[in-house]
């Protein structure tokens, strides 16, 4: 790393840490119903909205009703988005006259955006109309992010409240997350991105001449548009010259801002945040990384404030930050080393396959760890083309369960499940009562924590294994051998943990991945969410046990270290065999030069 790369890395984290406290405290005020600077403007809108929707803002829900409202709302979202995708050709704002999605792809895409995964088995510029992008996908970026935040807030209330069954009102939390948090920040961020060159318009795609026309081979089509094949069945190609190219346009900045802020990650274009129209300059790149980490980081502070001890929040943030920095260091080291097989051909420098020049290597690595440590899944580099060890970093961050900052809301509540497990295990080891934040950890809490932590792992391993014995699934791999396994493992890890990035060589738009992927995304999103709400319901009903000499302090360094260790051990025990067959074998092969 040169000194400029050090400087931009330092400045990024300094900015993030400076923002965590004010934003975290702001969120605590918003969700506790206190007045904020935005209240004079937004409170009237908020009240009007409740009146139209028939929501009584003071009516609180127990965990069952809260969970039911979450699931019901998300079901409505899936159905409506599915309908938009299937009816795209009949809806307005479709200047390119794009046809509807196939039903499997529509289902996969609808589930993907509603679960905050944003796995994309389609190519934005070729298949999605402006209506789909704006009214469909941009809307769902907001509501899926707000759903995650609302659940996290309800879970925090479970820890903070005593002797009650009530966790708050889902509709109120959802509305406040969108109005007070997501909309204002997105609006500002979108304009910053436009100033850098991110496009924002509703004009049809534009055709421009090429300075040097390009000749290329194209599959020959007969009169009815069917590819012509020769006697042996191979497609016939013809040589054509392109004098001009079509440049796709659209309302990109508005979607880009919420896509990063809400850790959604679904790109407007196929190349996602590597596309110069989504992420045009080094500054836009830094702003996007900051947006990805902002809310998840700040929620740790909100948690600390709401449970009455800010240090509890800092302890969790410390663990997240440590894991992120270690991952960054490994990735940066692996990519700087380059690819020895390429170096043998007379090439110098870091591995640049699948990377953009304008971001610098450190900038690219920062984006990669931020987007996979959180469940964002936007990409500014093609993860499939990272060195094997480098590619194992994003894969591992996803497999750990999206807790290194994690998705907005989901990152915090999954991290809390790990904290509960860490408290319990340490309690067993040193003979202290397992207590977290003054609440006794008992069988219910442990069950729910185990479900939260293990469900994604089980889904990933079972589905990857079934892909390996399904010929149609194996045929989708773009690269042979160990790398092919990494592609499949990454795909299911990404979907089950609601990340949405890909080792994109895998052709995922086939029935197998569309359908099983939808299943993975649903299980990975709702099983932990409902389990954590159940845990919160149980915790909220308990009385507060004041800390005694026998209580393990959970806001100090030893606990943070212990929590880190528990996370790494659970991750390693679950995934080491699979990782050693994929990226680790490939790294050894590459280093061996064969």
């Amino acid at each position: 790393m040169n000194r400029y790369e050090w400087l931009q890395t330092l400045l990024l984290f300094a900015t993030l840490l400076a923002l965590v406290r004010p934003l975290g405290r702001f969120m605590a005020r918003v969700f506790q119903g206190e007045a904020t600077v935005l209240s004079p403007l937004l409170a009237p809108c908020e009240n009007l909205l409740y009146r139209i929707c028939g929501v009584d803002r003071d009516e609180e829900m127990d965990w069952r009703r809260y969970a039911r409202a979450v699931v019901l709302f998300n079901l409505v979202l899936v159905v409506s988005l599915f309908a938009i995708l299937m009816l795209q050709h009949l809806l307005p704002l479709n200047p390119q006259k794009l046809p509807p999605f196939s039903w499997q792809l529509a289902l996969n895409t609808a589930v993907s955006f509603v679960t905050n995964t944003n796995w994309q088995a389609y190519s934005g510029e070729q298949e999605a109309s402006y209506f789909t992008q704006m009214v469909g996908l941009t809307t769902h970026n907001f509501v899926s992010a707000a759903t995650g935040i609302a659940i996290a807030i309800a879970v925090i209330r479970g820890f903070a409240r005593r002797r009650t069954s009530l966790l708050g009102n889902f509709w109120v939390d959802l509305t406040r997350a969108i109005l007070y948090l997501l909309l204002p920040i997105s609006l500002g961020a979108a304009l910053v991105l436009v100033s850098q060159g991110t496009i924002q318009n509703l004009t049809p795609y534009k055709t421009v001449p090429l300075l040097q026309p390009v000749r290329y081979d194209k599959a020959k089509l007969d009169g009815r548009g069917v590819p012509v094949t020769d006697a042996t069945g191979k497609p016939v190609t013809e040589s054509v010259t392109a004098q001009e190219v079509t440049i796709p346009l659209g309302p990109v900045a508005s979607q880009e801002a919420i896509k990063e802020l809400g850790t959604n990650g679904g790109g407007f274009f196929s190349a996602n945040s590597a596309h110069p129209y989504e992420n045009p300059t080094p500054l836009s790149h830094m702003v996007e990384i900051l947006l990805i980490l902002l809310i998840s980081g700040s929620l740790t502070c909100t948690f600390g404030v709401m449970v009455g001890n800010p240090r509890q929040g800092w302890a969790l943030l410390g663990v997240m930050l440590f894991l992120l920095l270690v991952s960054f260091a490994v990735l940066q080291w692996a990519e700087t080393g380059g690819n020895p097989l390429v170096a043998d051909l007379g090439v110098s420098g870091a591995n640049m396959e699948g990377k953009e020049l304008r971001f610098s290597l450190a900038g690219t690595s920062l984006f990669t760890v931020a987007t996979t440590g959180t469940s964002c899944g936007a990409v500014a580099a093609m993860h499939d083309s990272l060195t094997p060890l480098g590619g194992m970093v994003p894969l591992s961050l996803i497999l750990l369960g999206e807790i290194v900052f994690g998705g907005v809301g989901s990152g915090l509540y999954t991290m809390l499940a790990f904290a509960v497990i860490a408290v319990f295990v340490s309690g067993l080891m040193i003979g202290r009562t397992p207590e977290y934040l003054g609440k006794k950890i008992e069988a219910t809490e442990m069950w729910m924590a185990i479900v939260t932590v293990l469900v994604a792992g089980v889904v990933v391993l079972v589905l990857s294994a079934s892909a390996m014995i399904t010929p149609a699934a194996v045929a989708s791999m773009a690269n042979p051998g160990a790398h092919g396994l990494s592609e499949v493992l990454y795909a299911f890890a990404s979907m089950a943990n609601n990340n949405g990035s890909a080792f994109a060589g895998l052709n995922a738009n086939v029935t197998f991945y569309n359908l099983l992927g939808s299943l993975a995304m649903l299980l990975g999103r709702y099983a932990p969410a409902v389990a954590m709400l159940a845990m919160a319901g149980s915790l909220a009903g308990k009385k507060y046990v004041p800390p005694s000499l026998g209580t393990l302090p959970t806001d100090k360094l030893p606990f943070a270290l212990w929590l880190t260790l528990v996370i790494l051990i659970v991750g390693a025990l679950t995934f080491f065999p699979a990782l050693s067959l994929g990226p680790i074998v490939e790294q050894l092969t590459m280093a061996g030069g064969t």
């Binding site: 907001f142 304009l191 924002q200 090429l210 040097q212």
Partner: protein, 190 residues
């Protein structure tokens, strides 16, 4: 059932707010504040014709032009309708052969010594408009020869087209290959 009604009405309201009003407001502000960027940073040449976008690279293979990064877009290189990378794994034989072929074409054009990785490894978007100054300077002798210009003059054009780090420390110094080639053809506005 009360919650089902709330769910449906909420969806409709947020579709209006987040899916229509919000993008419309951003579009409106963008058009007023940053019209050129919002439209796509298009370049108009000296005679007022469209000459591509500053942000979207174009393919070049003629010795008279500087060659950009390899592109793995769908159909043909630098096809904006099919953005994306090669997604090739680092040990895939086909990919390594492709890199070897690109190294060979640079060798044939007279480049000796190590070749910067970005010249033979494809970008993530397939539309990357930039190269590092080193990768551009390497090509100066070829371009100068093909255009019957002195290397000094071409180097001067390169220096003119080089952008420094943003705000002095972000990213890397870089050269916009399309703008440089337009400049060499004398098509940029003075």
């Amino acid at each position: 059932m009360k919650d089902l009604k709330s769910a449906m009405v909420m969806l409709i309201i947020f579709t209006v707010i987040c899916g229509c009003i919000y993008p419309a407001v951003v579009t409106g502000f963008a058009r007023v504040l940053f019209p050129d960027q919002a439209r796509g940073s298009f370049i108009t040449d000296g005679r007022g014709r469209d000459a591509g976008s500053r942000l979207i690279g174009q393919p070049f293979s003629d010795p008279r032009y500087f060659w950009p990064r390899p592109s793995a877009t769908a159909g043909f290189p630098y096809n904006p309708m099919g953005s994306g990378g090669s997604n090739a794994g680092p040990t895939t034989p086909e990919y390594l052969k492709g890199v070897g072929d690109r190294v060979k074409s640079y060798r044939e054009s007279g480049v000796t010594g190590p070749i910067p990785a970005e010249l033979v490894q494809a970008s993530a978007s397939g539309l990357d408009p930039h190269l590092s100054p080193e990768a551009v300077l390497l090509q100066v002798p070829r371009v100068a020869r093909a255009r019957n210009l002195s290397e000094e003059m071409v180097t001067k054009a390169v220096a003119h087209a080089t952008e420094v780090r943003q705000l002095g420390f972000l990213g890397e110094p870089r050269v916009n290959v399309l703008e440089l080639n337009l400049e060499l053809d004398g098509r940029l506005k003075r």
